[in-house]
Symmetry: D2
Subunit: 139 residues, 4 copies
């Protein structure tokens, strides 16, 4: 995501006292994208609530809320390495990719009208890509 941010996530990965069975660089990128995407989705849901046309944005708000919750949980699970279970990480990444794709598609439809939807769609796309990149390395 960003210099300092990545530094903290990466530094914590570097300080883990046992081995990590994942590509650390892709893992750090995914975690940072997940927490940034979750924040963007929470903020976008709230910004939609304050639009005059909130009636037309109800599906968008719902997608945002789901995506925020799923990204938060995925970031937490990926931040744990003790007693690693690849099946859980993999199935959760798949659910997260589905949610990010759906939210990105939905927000994109309002991107021309609402700047918050444009920014949020970008965050969802970036997060989806980072999750796919990580998943691809998990055989």
């Amino acid at each position: 995501m960003t210099a300092t941010m990545t530094t903290t996530t990466r530094a914590m990965l570097g300080a883990y006292p046992a081995s990590i069975n994942m590509d650390r660089s892709k893992l750090a990128a995914a975690i940072d994208m997940l927490i940034s995407c979750s924040q963007a989705c929470t903020a976008c849901a709230d910004a939609c609530l304050s639009e005059d046309q909130v009636q037309m944005l109800t599906k968008c708000i719902r997608s945002d809320l789901d995506c925020a919750d799923i990204c938060d949980t995925t970031a937490r699970v990926l931040s744990r390495h003790t007693g690693y279970d690849a099946n859980i990480s993999r199935s959760l990444l798949e659910a997260c990719i589905t949610a990010c794709k759906a939210c990105g598609d939905e927000c994109e439809q309002h991107a021309g009208m609402h700047e918050h939807c444009r920014i949020c769609a970008e965050a969802c796309r970036a997060c989806e890509r980072a999750c796919r990149d990580l998943l691809a390395t998990m055989s």
Copy 2:
């Protein structure tokens, strides 16, 4: 789950102003099991931390933490019906079933030694079943 509890979850389902594309009875059961399982997992992780043999319970604690987070998020997503997207519910239920199965298996190994693991394993099994029952109705 329980009389009053189910009453609240069910009452909220009954008060939803549009149609719900799911079996309401199985949906209410799944939501109640998810929030009860999440609480049991959070409490089990903490009880494990206070055991003299915490060293032997680290994988159990990690499973509990993942399961708690995933169950909480699944309960939230299933509690929303506006702009329903079956793909998200389905993939998240699959991830949740994976997490409940793993946590139930892990806790079961310590059920003879630790009453909290025995209770938590039961909550995970019940939650896994309720999620499978709901998933089976979602064509």
Copy 3:
């Protein structure tokens, strides 16, 4: 809250291997109310989103979202007893009481129009009371 539900929360409290510096009965009641209130608030926010008059319910949705998040976190913190820190529990209970009061007040204003707001207001009031009862026992 309810027979079985309370049974699980209570059973986990009973299985905790060290001492708990709180009134167990009030603690179990508060945890059960918190997770039930959180679910009601998540469902109420979503039901509001599907109302024709969503424009008039935006403050209610926002109160619901805050209350759901704060109740979830408070239930988790109260479910942990290892290395207990009364200052954290107390300040979080105070924030939670503030959120439940605000959400109960807001939902009550729409209780005549929307059954989901009526049920959610009741859940918020019950949760606020349970949190106050617990806080009163923590000197």
Copy 4:
């Protein structure tokens, strides 16, 4: 926090369609610190679980888990501006400052032994400061 990160949080604040009754710069800083601190706490709890001396780190793990949950919820509440209620933000910031202080103090005691505790203590201190700075501007 960081260049790009702050850019997303700030950009979302800039795209909010109504007025925000807070210092936007301090608000963005607080949100970024909260989500970064939450990630560090989740990772530190897990790293502690994998240490040989986990028995000596149980209070640290518990502080980490509480701090992660409270920071996540505080970041969410601060990311919402619709129907703003200063009492909720204020009381939650107070609870969050209490949790960050406690977790920072606890992690600091293990900072000489465990690099993850040293990094996490720093994240807690930075987050506590950002929350205090924001709270000071909320009359």
